[in-house]
Symmetry: C2
Subunit: 352 residues, 2 copies
């Protein structure tokens, strides 16, 4: 049978399980799948297209014969095994932050910078979840009106911190509904010094704190935007906040455009109505706007509440929602694999 041999590293995680799901309907031929994880998860089973597959421990040899390797098992695992996969002829699509800012590694949102795929040397990085959906919404606006500046406040789902974090939220929520006392051991950041409850709460910290009082998550939105849009001049200043939502990141985005004469709310709606990967949901007269519950399990990025800043000629607000595990992670990765296939960029013996 013709097709690619595809490996998923981190197959038991929140993103990995969605990668497997996305591979079931990917538009490229698959002759073999291999689902990899840590030693601890080896032996567990997952289903793929009605087959029961056994998870294997990740080793360098796991990648023998693999054409496409999707990684989502943390930065350290990617750093250790991605080069091993590349060495054995695979193309790696890495969902961790390990290689994102590496100048040798393309950072790709297919709707925005598919052409960058051609510069890959074996590894392609999948951007941060909160960055991806912002890019899908803003790139059509940037192309049409120019983009000077972005000020963004996020409303990020707990699944971005993994399945254990969702479990913790649900347990806390149940205890609070029962008026019992609660504990926190994971969020805001697993391994950080302090932990706070997320159920019926809001935490203004995602990832650890870094330079200038910004978190790493906030820095990612700034730096990854410049790299993906290929414009180091774009100003991005972010506040990243965790909310008690299981799946679906929301973003309140304020932008300043270059061509204020051409821009208008209606012109932006026209651009977004026809933009790839975007669904415009913007009719406030009928209360039409996106919410994370409705975006769940959908691949698109939903945009609504487009408004003019009435005090600034160049300022606009947008409300952008997407399933963080899909477009924010698993779907963007599998979509990159689809584009690589269509561009004949997967080095597979089987399909030659």
């Amino acid at each position: 049978m013709n097709g690619y041999a595809v490996a998923v590293v981190g197959a038991t995680g929140a993103v990995g399980t969605k990668m497997i799901k996305m591979l079931e309907t990917a538009d490229f031929p698959i002759k073999e799948v291999k689902f990899l994880a840590s030693k601890r998860s080896a032996g567990k089973t997952v289903s793929f297209k009605d087959q029961t597959m056994t998870i294997e421990e990740t080793t360098p040899e796991s990648f023998e014969g693999i054409d496409i390797a999707l990684f989502s098992a943390g930065g350290e695992v990617s750093k250790k095994f991605a080069p091993e996969a590349v060495k054995r002829g695979a193309i790696v699509i890495d969902n961790t932050s390990a290689y994102r800012m590496d100048p040798e590694v393309p950072l790709v949102v297919p709707e925005v910078n598919e052409a960058a795929l051609k510069e890959n040397k074996g590894i392609i990085a999948n951007p941060n979840c909160s960055t991806i959906q912002m890019m899908v919404a803003l790139e059509p606006i940037r192309r049409k009106f120019g983009l000077k500046r972005v000020i963004v406040s996020t409303y990020q789902a707990v699944s971005g911190a993994g399945n254990e974090a969702v479990k913790e939220m649900n347990e806390q929520a149940q205890k609070m509904l029962d008026e019992e006392s609660i504990e926190a051991a994971i969020l805001p950041v697993s391994g950080d010094k302090k932990h706070f409850p997320i159920a019926f709460n809001v935490l203004p910290q995602i990832d650890v704190f870094a330079e200038e009082g910004y978190t790493k998550e906030e820095w990612k939105m700034t730096n990854e935007t410049k790299k993906i849009m290929g414009d180091p001049q774009i100003k991005v200043s972010a506040t990243c906040v965790r909310v008690p939502v299981a799946s679906g990141h929301s973003e309140s985005i304020y932008i300043e455009v270059e061509n204020e004469e051409a821009a208008s709310v209606e012109a932006m709606r026209d651009v977004l109505r026809n933009a790839p990967g975007v669904v415009l949901m913007d009719d406030v007269a009928d209360q039409v706007y996106p919410t994370p519950l409705e975006a769940k399990d959908k691949k698109e990025t939903f945009v609504g509440r487009i408004r003019k800043d009435l005090d600034a000629k160049d300022g606009y607000h947008l409300w952008v929602v997407s399933d963080n595990l899909l477009k924010g992670a698993a779907w963007n990765s599998v979509q990159i694999a689809e584009r690589l296939h269509h561009l004949n960029m997967v080095k597979s013996e089987a399909t030659k």
Copy 2:
């Protein structure tokens, strides 16, 4: 016994019950309390300083002999009964939006514009919850560095929509935890055409939609800020969002200051550390920042995550949290009453 006769209108509501609580520790003498509500709630009992009080139906005659009347039973009730209370010699502190933009009515946050109390003609308006905490945090900055512009995204608690909305959220949350189907009948706005679930969700609509695609809540933040700060030039552009939190509004506030030379993160911290009604919680090295769960039942406004916009000389971010039912409503109202007492502005026979 000396002291004021105080009435609370809307005594069974989310805010009214907190007003009663705040009156228990108010620093002015109270000789009599009268707790009023709709006919439907008349006959219910509430406790006040260990006494059991019976709720009475609100009528014009309810205000005979009343010195201070606190209203929080919806705009229509205030429009109907506030003039009746004033006619009978009471000073009205109104927590609804009925009189906020009336040029004859002072709109007061004591930390910001206490002097405006002197212009009252019987009615004083309590600002919108999301506006109040923003004013407490920004006024010290405005006085020290000047304030040109505010871009704010809110994370507002469900109790702002009333006790029934909180009950709906909790019921939805329980059903979602039990993997049962859910219904929505109240939020985003009771009486609006459509309703959406708030449990484990985020709704970018608070109050109904008005001009230019902004909601009334968003317009309130813009217009009330200009009135409270006494500066029609201040630009405020808001995105108001409901989050599944019972109590405590959070705000991601971006500001541009006038005196960019004098301003710095450290200078802002110094100003806020000594500001009335503010608690500075800003030490990210130790993960110190405010959250709504921690702000619950506290009167202060908590400020953290003060950061410089690294791309703009005049831009700063702040994260501002307060209990929306206290500083956002009940406490600000009782605090106004306290100030009126200290300014000898309550027309009471009993205390003359």
